[in-house]
Amino acid sequence: VRTALRLTPLVLIAALLGLVVVEAQTPVRVLLVALVLLTCPGLTLAAGMDSPDLLLWVVAVPAISLSTLTLSAVTLLLLGWWTPTVCLVVLAAVTVGAVAVVPSGRAASEEPLP
């Protein structure tokens, strides 16, 4: 489950990038945007918590995702590089980085805690 949660954001972002590139305007795109902005990279990073507390997850995932979105968008604006697509690419990069950093379920269960 943890591995699936870590990788789901990547699938969502890839699907959204595809729709943005081909400029497909469908209700699915709106739904996908909402999902991506609320769960990427929160789902991946929150997978680092080994807590069974569902409510903690439900709070942490959008909190991480919306904060990352806000900080990415503001930083890009300050740098003069902001466009929605660039911002999405940054979110994708952060998510990929998080996948690399956050241990998978198997690794997490085998690694000793610090």
Partner: protein
């Protein structure tokens, strides 16, 4: 007293609550589910489109069929019965979701346009960021705290179409639902009594009448703040005896939670002027009373917030620092702006303000009783009291345009709701009598009544008609984007585009300068002279007239005098005339305008 003793007094494990009405079931028997179903049906069937022009000075509450307000009242009764019969968490959650939808979605469901003239201004700022990809720092405060707008511009660009406008229309129920998980997390961290916890969540929903949940930075920032507090209280509250808790967070969980907390503070800093300071105060209070183990967090969060203000909002500070500093600790201005000024206006307005105040005082009084009863029962709600008291310090710093009282109420609401719920369940693990359940139902129903007026009391002003919204868009389309706009008052769905190019002011502001209609016309013509197009637009609308009457913004008939003189002024011509909207184009004395 040591930390261990303090903590132990606050987190005495609660014995199981005695069962009322038999075994615990998923929905607490047939009665609550039937009541809830009836409430939902009542609400859905009573929803009918409303014409904002037909509303009175008390707003939406008296204009809607009684069933619209009876439905959440009935739902509150269903909630009390379900709680008394120990219904399961999922059913109680379902009831809370239904309550949020009923309370927050009513206006969006019955009104034709996005409510709240500020929503249109925020759409204009998002439009400017999207078009120019630039921070217009110094244009106004919004661009110095652009976090929310940048995030929404990203959403707008990625989703395309009308997605942002749809979100703006439904933002109150969307934010109301997004607030629920962090509020549940906060209440769960503050008490292990499930009756108290769910009652607190219900009271939070009923106390959230402040109407900051439109498409706004403060509505978004509140979500971040609630998440921050929920995480801090859940993961970083010192635990004396881990056996008292269902789980102790591992180092890995603490690392992720710490990173999230820092991320949240960093995101809050560029998002809103006020909320980051409420966050720093809340964190500092929790650390000061030793209810948060992250001793360095107040310094770190203070540094992050200060960093933004000093380095990125400096243009705002340069223009406003003197004004801000002069109001620090000015209690007379504070009381005038937050209390006395709000009691000016039409009888309907005064009535709605009094009802709003009464409703707020009721919840506050119940919270005081709750704190007292729990203290008498041997509970020291230090954490809860710290979260109530922390934002109050903001009141001493700034009147915030007369809104600080309401904002402080909102920041303190989750903890206030927990204290208020404690007045019904002061003794943990002890059964309560039928009278208590009836008292709880009565208070909830009274608060539902108060909510209708508190939240929707200004609807005649806040809800534009389609004629107003579409007419203004038509005028914006037909005139150069540099043409300035003088609106009778700011209560108008304007500034939804050309935000950075159209200078704007109001007749109310001009009247404050000169004090008579002829003087206002002279200033309007001077504004036209200074504009690149040599003209200015002057807008009079239904919502502005309603605002003037309701809030008493100008002397009697002043607005009509100004409109008559504008219509008769040399070089003035009507661009659009309808029952709800009149727009005049006024030429300046210099043909062609400013070079």
């Amino acid at each position: 007293m040591t930390v261990a003793e303090l903590r132990a007094r606050e987190s005495v494990p609660e014995s199981p609550v005695p069962r009322l009405g038999g075994r615990r079931t998923a929905v607490g028997g047939a009665v609550p589910s039937l009541l809830a179903l009836g409430a939902v049906l009542l609400w859905v069937l009573a929803l009918r489109p409303v014409d904002p022009a037909s509303l009175g000075d008390v707003g939406l509450a008296p204009a809607r069929p009684l069933a619209v307000w009876a439905a959440p009242a009935l739902l509150s009764v269903a909630f009390v019965v379900a709680l008394a019969r120990r219904a399961g968490g999922p059913f109680l959650l379902l009831l809370v979701v239904a309550l949020v939808v009923m309370l927050q979605a009513t206006a969006a469901a019955v009104e034709p346009e996005i409510r709240g003239f500020v929503s249109y201004r925020h759409l204009g700022i998002i439009d400017t960021l999207s078009r120019t990809s630039e921070l217009h720092s110094g244009l106004d405060a919004y661009f110095d705290w652009p976090g929310f707008f940048a995030a929404m511009a990203t959403l707008d660009g990625l989703a395309g179409g009308d997605a942002l406008r749809v979100l703006a229309h439904w933002s109150a129920p969307v934010l109301g639902l997004l607030y629920l998980p962090p509020v549940l997390l906060i209440t769960r961290a503050l008490t292990s009594d499930r009756r108290l916890r769910w009652t607190a969540v219900w009271l939070f929903c009923l106390g959230n009448w402040v109407d900051q949940d439109y498409l706004s930075p403060q509505g978004f920032a509140l979500l971040l703040l609630l998440s921050l507090l929920g995480l801090l209280l859940t993961v970083f509250r010192p635990r004396v005896d881990v056996d008292q808790e269902p789980w102790a967070p591992s180092v890995r969980t603490q690392l992720v939670a710490y990173g999230t907390v820092v991320l949240l503070v960093a995101a809050l800093a560029p998002t809103h002027q006020l909320t980051p300071f409420a966050a720093v105060l809340g964190i500092s209070c929790l650390v000061a009373v030793r209810r948060c183990s992250l001793a360095s967090l107040p310094v770190l969060s203070g540094a992050l917030v200060s960093l933004w203000v000093v380095f990125f909002a400096v243009s705002y500070l340069q223009g406003h620092l003197t004004g801000i500093v002069s109001e620090v600790g000015d209690l007379e201005t504070l009381v005038d702006a937050n209390v006395r000024d709000r009691l000016d206006g039409s009888p309907g307005h005064v009535l709605s303000v009094r009802l709003r105040t009464a409703s707020t005082l009721l919840l506050a009084a119940v919270a005081v009783v709750g704190a007292w009863r729990r203290w008498r029962a041997g509970r020291q709600d230090v954490t809860t009291l710290a979260l109530v008291i922390a934002p109050v310090a903001l009141l001493l710093v700034q009147p915030y345009g007369g809104e600080m009282g309401m904002r402080v109420w909102l920041f303190a609401l989750p903890a206030t709701a927990v204290l208020a719920a404690g007045s019904f369940f002061p003794t943990l693990g002890h059964d309560v009598g039928r009278a208590t359940w009836i008292a709880l139902a009565v208070v909830l129903v009274a608060l539902v009544g108060g909510f209708g007026v508190s939240k929707y009391g200004n609807e005649r002003v806040l809800a534009p008609t389609t004629a107003e919204r579409a007419g203004l868009e038509q005028v914006y389309d037909a005139t150069p984007p540099e043409t300035p706009v003088v609106a009778a008052t700011g209560h108008l769905p304007w500034r939804m585009r050309d935000y950075e190019t159209r200078r704007t002011t109001t007749v109310v502001a001009l009247w404050d300068e000169v004090g008579d209609a002829n003087g206002v016309v002279d200033l309007v013509r001077a504004e036209a002279d200074a504009s690149p197009t040599g003209t200015t637009l002057v807008v009079f609308s239904r919502s502005q007239t309603a605002a003037d009457r309701k809030f008493g913004l100008l002397p009697d008939d002043a607005l009509q005098q100004v409109e008559d003189r504008i219509a008769a002024a040399p070089g003035s011509r009507p661009l659009l005339t309808s029952h709800h909207l009149r727009v005049y184009e006024v030429a300046g004395a210099t043909p062609g305008g400013a070079p």
